[in-house]
């Protein structure tokens, strides 16, 4: 019996050692615990298909953004303009498709160029001036916040652009970005698959390619990285452009799904992206983190957001509950993370 216990203990040790090496293990543990917690508190309502559909639908925009923002944070930078850039993408495609009558696919492509240019601007400014990205992207944040509403009003006379479904190419773009599988309320949006796809691809880039190593190096110790021939500036600019691309994707997905765009939206969302990345184990100082982690962080947000009403708690307290839950999730992550011997560690 003792032999078996020792064998079991060793098996456990080996298993935990292998699993604990992953930086996302803490967030997975936190998400699982939170999910089980709400499953009990809601008398099992959390595991119904309709509730799972709602959780994933709440999580995917944060998920796609958190993957990009998380990668940017590993690379040592922040993007505070990511939230309003989602609205910029939507406003741009709305103006071009509804007001100028462009095909939605063309409008989407042009709006991608706008976002890429904005991302490049963020990156160039950070690299050239050496100022903290916090300050640079705060400037972009305010600039876009004003430009979104001003340009929308200039071209359409309103801060709300409607009737995107009447533009050419709507059906095909809608099919690609916003198709729903299943019957409501058990409907899953194709966006969830896009989110999974982005997570897998970017995760692969981070762990299996040279670029991934460069990103860790650029965020961990830029000077040393430069000395070792890592193109730190190019990496950082690319990361800002990737974040802008994610914002573009979420922005146009929302636009075709809702067939309307509110130019004033997105303010404050940038913090939720960063929160999801941090809950998912990305270090705030850069150089450490994962991509599955931020995705799980977004999922934690979805679980908490849907779990609170499912558990029948008073919605007046929603933000307070969310604050506590996020703190608990991060603490669990931190505890588990401390045990983990890190590959790209301190």
């Amino acid at each position: 019996m003792v032999d078996r216990a020792i064998a079991l203990s060793q098996l456990w040790q080996r298993w935990t050692n292998r699993v604990m090496q992953r930086p996302e293990v803490g967030s997975v543990a936190a998400a699982s615990l939170l999910f089980i917690f709400f499953s009990i508190a809601s008398r099992g309502a959390m595991v119904e298909g309709s509730t799972l559909a709602r959780i994933f639908d709440t999580a995917w925009p944060y998920g796609i953004m958190a993957v990009a923002v998380g990668l940017l944070m590993i690379g040592g930078e922040y993007d505070l303009s990511a939230g309003v850039m989602v609205a910029t993408a939507g406003t741009a495609i709305g103006i071009m498709a509804v007001e100028w009558g462009l095909n939605l696919w063309l409008a989407a492509l042009l709006s991608l160029f706008i976002c890429l240019a904005l991302g490049a601007w963020n990156g160039m400014m950070v690299v050239r001036t050496g100022l903290p990205s916090f300050v640079i992207t705060l400037g972009t944040f305010f600039g876009l916040r004003g430009a979104n509403v001003a340009l929308s009003k200039h071209f359409t006379g309103d801060a709300l652009i409607e009737n995107l479904d009447e533009a050419a190419g709507f059906d095909s773009l809608h099919a690609v970005l916003a198709t729903a599988f299943g019957t409501p309320p058990e409907d899953f949006r194709v966006s969830v698959l896009w989110w999974a796809g982005f997570t897998i691809i970017i995760s692969w880039v981070l762990w299996r390619t040279k670029i991934g190593n460069w990103i860790f190096a650029a965020g961990g110790d830029p000077a040393a990285a430069r000395a070792n021939g890592v193109p730190v500036s190019a990496i950082k600019i690319s990361l800002f452009m990737l974040t802008a691309t994610a914002a573009w994707f979420v922005g146009i997905s929302n636009a075709v799904r809702y067939t309307s765009v509110q130019a004033g939206q997105g303010v404050g969302d940038e913090f939720f992206f960063i929160i999801a990345a941090v809950v998912g184990g990305c270090r705030m100082a850069g150089g450490y983190g994962s991509i599955v982690g931020p995705s799980i962080g977004a999922l934690i947000w979805g679980i908490a957001f849907i779990g609170i009403p499912q558990a029948g708690w008073n919605s007046d307290w929603r933000w307070a509950f969310l604050g506590v839950l996020l703190l608990v999730a991060t603490l669990i992550n931190h505890y588990v993370g401390q045990r983990a011997p890190s590959e790209h560690g301190d």
Binding site: P185, Y258, T259, Q262, Q265, G312
Partner: protein, 350 residues
């Protein structure tokens, strides 16, 4: 003996894990303790009302803590007590969030959805989905026309265009020549209608108007400064129309801060607005009866689910007839110097 020692050693070796497991067990037990219990209904205060099992969700585009929507919530909550139904009141100014709140209510199997449609296009799929899932859908406050198109049964609120037109007329009649209309929720179709129609009234009587988008109730300091800055830059503005009682108070402060010579009128009322009208510092307020926008749809949903023969309340029967037309207008009513003194009595305590 050695066996026991070895076992103990293994357990001690895993003390962190065991402690964590114990903690998790404790938290899960806590979750079990605070799970949703069968909802304990407060019995209807009116003894003659039959008790029915009805779950009603009211999902608005107002953020939690917004004074206007707090009045709506107060009306909804007193209806909840009166009719002994189960109510979920929630809302968010972010359209993405409001869509998800509505979808979640449908997933939770509610019987009735009462919803405000500030951005009807974005809400279309969710509202249609709710109707397909068999929910009775009613609209309040905004989105009357589109809501009916989606399949909502009845609307409770004030037609924004009619109210805007009337407000503009009153501004012009008070001698305003150049009006500033303050929009506090960019992207709210109904607010746009109010300003456009009020502006039309101004133009019809030879005046002009301009619209200003402000940050809103989320940041009152910033909103005050935004209004003040425009007043300072455009001394010709001699009238300000706000679309929310809290914004009206900010506009009043802004007018004072920059010493602008502008008359002020607003949509919606609060006790501060009523006092300002009484002191003569505000021209008028357009009242759309926020409390009733919360109370009436729940009363309607209740009697829509009660067998007619069980329905003993004369008041409810009258209400059913009233709302059968598909709209129950709660405004526009006007509060000005002529009736402000009587107003709190007419409205009664909330």
């Amino acid at each position: 003996m050695t066996n026991a020692t070895a076992l103990a050693r293994i357990l001690i070796g895993h003390w962190r894990g065991l402690l964590l497991a114990a903690l998790i067990g404790l938290v899960m037990f806590a979750a079990y303790l605070c799970r949703v219990d069968e909802v304990v209904r407060t019995q209807g205060q009116t003894a003659s009302l039959p008790q029915i099992d009805l779950r009603i969700a009211m999902i608005t585009h107002g953020g939690i803590g917004d004074p206007f929507w707090d009045q709506v919530a107060a009306g909804a909550q007193s209806a909840e007590r009166e009719f002994g139904i189960e109510l979920r009141f929630d809302g968010d100014g972010n359209i993405n969030t409001q869509v998800r709140l509505v979808d979640n209510v449908v997933a939770q199997g509610y019987d009735v959805l009462i919803v405000s449609l500030a951005d009807p296009d974005a809400m279309e799929n969710s509202v249609r989905g709710a109707i397909e899932a068999g929910l009775l859908v009613l609209t309040i406050n905004s989105g009357e026309e589109r809501g009916r198109e989606f399949g909502a049964i009845t609307h409770f609120g004030q037609p924004d265009k009619v109210a805007g037109l009337a407000a503009g007329e009153r501004m012009a009649a008070a001698g305003v020549n150049r009006m500033l209309c303050v929009v506090h929720e960019a992207g709210n179709v109904g607010l746009g209608h109010r300003c456009d129609e009020a502006g039309l009234s101004m133009e019809l009587s030879g005046g002009s108007y301009q619209t200003l988008f402000v940050t809103g109730t989320a940041n009152i300091r910033e909103t005050t400064n935004e209004i003040g800055a425009v007043l300072l830059a455009n001394p010709a503005i001699d009238g300000v129309l706000t679309l929310n009682a809290e914004i009206a108070e900010l506009a009043q402060r802004a007018i004072g801060e920059v010493a602008a010579d502008a008359l002020l009128a607003t949509f919606d009322i609060s006790s501060d607005v009523l006092e300002a009208i009484e002191r003569g510092e505000m021209l008028f307020a357009v009242d759309q009866q926020a409390y009733l926008q919360g109370f009436l749809p729940i009363a309607f949903a209740y009697f829509a689910h009660v067998e007619p023969e069980l329905e003993t309340s004369v008041v409810l029967r009258a209400l059913r007839r009233w709302s059968a037309s598909g709209r129950l207008l709660t405004g526009p009513g006007f509060v000005d110097a002529s009736n402000v003194r009587r107003y709190p009595e007419i409205r009664g305590p909330e």
